[in-house]
Subunit: 418 residues, 2 copies
């Protein structure tokens, strides 16, 4: 099954004003949709970041893959490595340091997923079966809460409304749980002074007793603040995610707080694992196939984590249905991925490039799509519409900080902030 | 592709009197051949140990796998885990400590390889393609030298003749290199006092300048002896394999000798990796899919080793062509498996259960079989003949020590011996 053609299409979709340590989501989120076509006419889908520098690398690498067999991942990885070569600057500061390996993994992943989609279609099996088969039939996701404005400045409020205090966060949680059935909750923090976010977690605990809770301030706290918050939230958090920056800082915090620390920032590429493990910096790794080099490499990392006693959850950026399908197949095939995964799906609120129907939430979990490959079908009209949105929206790279500074000129994304 | 039937056939084949720390190879070596048949009539081949206890577990587990899909490795692993349950005693003392996990991995591997064979056949691709594609077109193996008697006591000398001193070892190396084109050499040691084996290595160095050399005494030396030998062989060995027992002992030796240490004894299951890495006990892991849980799990372990800076080679027990094919597909798909692999193939001297032709040595390397799946075909006549040999040979479990004691009543396999 030789790759005959690869189509690379950037898309944009509406994104609510979600607040985080780097600023606030812009009105449009970007993704790149990859379609790999074989000489038999089979098409595989991949989805990756939409930032212009990354898009350029994806396009450049796509050309070099024509003529490769869809099984030949080692050659594909080597070719992409030769092209990506140096260090690509980090996309937006929320997924940790940039490295050459991470940049290669990030470009490779979209093609790898598309090739697995093709292999699954050719074999008549879902991608989960190419990854070892189902360890679970449905993959639980968490309610991913954000502090947010009522709407983008100058626009009408969106249907989610404002969430700028405990009451707003609890209300948001109730809405997402009602609509999706989520059974665990993650709050994106790092937005307000820590005491306010502690109060939000306590309000969530009161409103949803027994529901696992997580807090992720995106490494915007000092070691001291992280320890203070961790201790104040004893017995309340399932894990505390990236309270502070760097493996060394996380290690100090981990030794002093009662709950495990999780990360998708200080351990984002294989070379970070040995020092993180040696210094006991983390208890939970948030896998993300988009930058861990695709689904198969992520499954290798899952075995490594199991071997060293690290638990697994899954990280999410704003994404569409191709990624949700890929994440679900991977998580379903990974026995030791036992924490509910993150997803931004609710915030896309039905916008998608895939035909509706094959992805749904049942009690907060996505049943593994049963169709061959990823089990999702590209909606060409939606793709064209979202590509048009990309061309018109004027955004070419995610920049939460500059957008925030338009409304709060004094805002900086400095770390630690507290 | 549902598993409809599994045939499990023990076989025996002639084995020369190869000496090692545990004693001497008996006249017959045992293996178990596994044939997995799907409801479409596709057949996949696997090969594993032939010892009676293991054979019983394989047979028992085989029944529990009927009805499973050949992709459903997670369920297969869980079912085998439920059956194997406790600790299976170690097979023969040369591949390290027994653990429950290792026992499950050991039973699982034969079925996993057979299922990959089926999946490759169904997709029309070689197994290497299911593991990431070729990182190399042919897999280099080493000349695996053994001290040996001229023949089994009471029998005519075999064609390899005796090798009981430096001259015999050099002659044996010359023969294997002439017939197979090997470009690196491993000497199984632990048979004679260390100074004699040092002399053999030095004789090999002189006879084959520039050829990478390895020595493997199967952990029969004390830490002190290991350090002395390691220092005396500075500049001569590519790596020193299992000079002494246990991770702690290997760690002491590793800190004091100039070459990397390799193992297939102190690190034989995932749980051994964290302490071995933390104590810098080894530089090279000898993978063996037969006890690391099959080809895919071995590839996960390869990534782990790469992440932690461990190099890879491959271990071998007496085996037939199904295993040689599986080892070759795995090694070809593993970019960081850069040392020549071990194989006992020359000692089987043409005896096989697979139809000749698809496996050959070119300059000491086996080109990856090009056919679908493993690329080897079962020779039913040979299987029947070798099964008959199994029934008649009177050996049901490998026991190099007792066989040796028949001729040297005072022999013990105590460790350390020197």
């Amino acid at each position: 099954m030789t790759i005959r053609e690869i189509r690379v299409t950037p898309v944009a979709f509406r994104d609510p004003p979600l607040l985080n340590a780097a600023g606030v989501h812009e009105p449009w989120a970007l993704r790149t949709i990859v379609e790999v076509v074989t000489d038999e006419g089979l098409t595989g889908l991949g989805e990756t970041y939409g930032d212009l520098g990354h898009l350029g690398k994806v396009r450049e690498c796509a050309k070099s893959l024509i003529g490769l067999d869809v099984h030949d991942m080692n050659t594909m990885y080597a070719r992409i490595g030769a092209i990506v070569g140096g260090v690509v600057s980090d996309l937006h500061g929320l997924t940790g340091a940039a490295t050459k390996e991470k940049s290669v993994d990030r470009v490779f992943a979209a093609f790898e997923v598309a090739c697995l989609d093709i292999r699954g279609k050719a074999a008549g099996v879902p991608v989960v079966d190419l990854l070892g088969g189902k360890a679970r039939d449905a993959v639980p996701y968490s309610a991913y809460l954000f502090y947010k404005w009522a709407g983008h400045p100058g626009e009408e409020p969106d249907r989610f409304g404002a969430a700028l205090d405990e009451a707003g966060i609890v209300e948001q949680a109730a809405l997402l749980i009602k609509e999706y059935g989520f059974q665990s909750i993650k709050l994106k923090g790092g937005v307000f002074p820590p005491d306010q976010e502690i109060a939000a977690i306590k309000a969530l605990r009161e409103a949803f007793p027994g529901m696992p809770l997580r807090l992720d301030p995106n490494a915007v706290w000092s070691v001291e603040t992280s320890i203070r918050v961790g201790r104040e939230l004893e017995g309340t958090l399932q894990y505390l995610e990236d309270p502070t920056a760097e493996i060394s800082g996380m290690s100090e915090v981990a030794a002093a707080v009662p709950m495990p620390l999780a990360t998708n920032m200080c351990v984002v590429t294989p070379e970070h694992l040995p020092p993180a493990i040696a210094s006991r910096a983390i208890g939970v790794l948030l896998l993300d196939h988009h930058y861990w080099g695709g689904l198969v490499r992520s499954s290798h990392i899952a075995t490594l984590c199991d071997t060293f006693g690290l638990s697994l959850s899954m990280h999410s950026n704003s994404h569409l249905g191709i990624s949700l399908a890929a994440m679900t197949h991977l998580a379903a095939a990974t026995p030791n991925l036992t924490f509910a995964c993150d997803t931004h799906t609710p915030w896309q609120d039905g916008q998608d490039v895939v035909v509706p129907g094959s992805l749904r939430f049942v009690d907060g979990a996505v049943p593994v799509p049963a169709g061959p490959g990823l089990g999702v079908e590209l909606d060409r009209d939606a793709l064209a519409r979202m590509n048009e949105q990309y061309e018109k929206c004027g955004i070419v790279a995610r920049d939460d900080t500059t957008y925030m500074q338009r409304f709060e000129p004094g805002f900086t994304a400095r770390k630690p902030r507290w």
